[in-house]
Amino acid sequence: MGQIKLNQVTKSFGEVQVIPPLDLTIEDGEFTVFVGPSGCGKSTLLRLIAGLEDITSGHIEIDGADATNVPPAKRGLAMVFQSYALYPHMSVRKNIAFPMKMAAVPEDEQNRRIEAAAKALNLTDYLDRKPGQLSGGQRQRVAIGRSIVREPSAFLFDEPLSNLDAALRVGMRLEISELHERLKTTMIYVTHDQVEAMTMADKIVVLRAGFIEQVGSPLELYHSPRNEFVAGFIGSPKMNLIKGPEAEKHGASTIGIRPEHTDVSMSEGMWEGRVGVAEHLGSDTFIHVHDTGLGDMITVRITGDIQVKHGDAIYLTPQLDKLHKFDAQGLRME
């Protein structure tokens, strides 16, 4: 129940091909996250799966059955939109009941499912309010409630947390993860925030300009990014990518070292540089190091805090076993 398979799927808007031929299988019960920079086609891909856009060529299979030309309502998928798309003139109860009303579910069964969803999502006290009277987080939960009651074979989330403030986002992230644990239903989640991707996903699909750059578990992507793009995209702060003579010393075109895999000293090390901005987060300190002769600024991460001033000399030593090497095509070298 809930395996989704894309087979040579393409999508063009007029002359512009936004999704080049693409194969992807999403297993039943998996939490899959599509991640990529803005305009990479991740939302389009989700809408193709939902059926809100027609695919230009290729096939979509849901649970082994060809769903390419099946209308969205008949695919058994539920979608949560970025704007929540609640019906403003209906109460929360009617919003949640709407898909069941369309499917002609008996009244008492409707009420049973509404109560269950409201209890699970802490909405019981708000059932008679209109969406306009709710906060952002509550609206989000109503949107999720509306999708749960249909008992779909898969949930599609289109950047659902991007309209929430930082604290709420962390909370909702947990709630969605817990929901997935409880329901064990396939979920596809689109985001541009790699932190959301890393924390929630069973499987991450990194997209760039419609191409799948890499598919894998969050830690696979972190430890062995397949190319420079994935290396730079996954991880926060970003991996330092160094080109030129320093990379050639390691027999690569580009080398990458994560900020957390660089040792810092005030007296000696492999690379010398000058402290730029130091971001003190309490638990960690991010130091931007300039003038290392390696090209761009290097970011390093230190656990705890360190007393450095702007302009201080600083020495960096990368942990050589954590060094990533990429060839001239930007592909990973083992």
């Binding site: 809100l52 309502a73 798309a85 249909r150």
Partner: protein, 288 residues
């Protein structure tokens, strides 16, 4: 910075405009009220003095009074129904992406720019003329007997002419309302399994509620005073004499200013009754 000083300054500066507007409204109103209590016949003796409520009694006891109220309400109701229903359909149609959208939209709005007198004359002579009108030719083409529209079907004809004029207004307001509908809501409803008709009924129509209310309220104000279309087509004959037209006849054709003024006061009362009913029925849509 609403200090005591700035507030009083604001009042002084607004005063000329407020006083002018008030005068503009009060002078005609008071004069109408004054004349309505007088026997005033400009060509037959002029001001013949106060007569109390005689004019009011005469105006309502005239056999033309109730038919004129019914005619007024028929025109208002008929035009509102046609313009709202077709306005919604046209707005949905015009909201679809299509080639030449800009020109089509301007063409649809064009009738609103035609003066009522002109459009009524065009309808009367070019379309509804029983001998040379386009409708007559169309009827004859299908072998039917042409209809003398303005005498045989006078009320539907007037409603049709006035609707044609007001349809662009309704379409324009409803089109802007439709354009402000969040497309994700429609997509969500589509995902929720609602077919197009139900999406319209459950999502689009409620979204249009406020715009429809505005269309109804504004049109009612203007439709209660429809005059030119009747003047140039039927001249108030064949059951198309509205309250406005009756007042016109009393004042200018019968040269009885007092009687007409009493009719004017009744027209104000009728407009207010209609307004109260409308606000009861549709006014709640305007609350945010």
């Amino acid at each position: 910075m609403a200090t005591q000083h700035s507030r009083s300054a604001a009042r002084i500066m607004m005063a000329p405009a407020v006083i002018l507007l008030l005068g503009w409204m009060l002078v005609p109103l008071i004069m109408t009220l004054m004349f309505s209590f007088k026997q005033y016949l400009p060509l037959r003796g002029g001001d013949l003095g106060w007569v109390g409520f005689d004019n009011y009694v005469r105006f309502v006891s005239s056999s033309a009074f109730w038919p004129s109220v019914v005619a007024t309400l028929t025109i208002v109701g008929g035009v509102l129904l046609i313009t709202v229903v077709f306005g919604i359909l046209l707005a949905i149609l015009l909201n679809q992406p299509m080639w030449g959208q800009g020109i089509v939209r301007i063409l649809v709005i064009a009738p609103f720019f035609v003066m009522p007198t002109v459009s009524a004359l065009v309808w009367k002579n070019m379309f509804m003329d029983p001998v040379n009108g386009l409708f007559a030719h169309l009827w004859k083409f299908f072998g039917a007997e042409p209809i003398a529209w303005l005498s045989e079907a006078s009320m539907p004809s007037i409603v049709m002419i006035v609707s044609w004029q007001w349809l662009p207004f309704a379409t324009l307001i409803l089109l802007t309302a439709i354009q402000s509908l969040d497309s994700e809501q429609l997509e969500a409803a589509e995902m929720d399994g609602a077919p197009p008709i139900k999406r319209f009924a459950y999502i689009t129509l409620p979204h249009l509620g406020r715009a429809i209310t505005i269309v109804i309220l504004i049109q009612t104000i203007f439709l209660l005073a429809v005059f030119a279309e009747i003047f140039v087509t039927t001249g108030g004959a064949f059951g198309t004499r509205t309250l406005t037209y009756l007042i016109f006849q009393r004042v200018l054709e019968s040269q009885n200013v007092g009687l007409g003024s009493a009719g004017g006061v009744y027209a104000i009362i009728l407009a207010n009754i209609v307004a109260i009913f409308l606000m009861r029925i549709v006014g709640k849509n305007l609350d945010a």
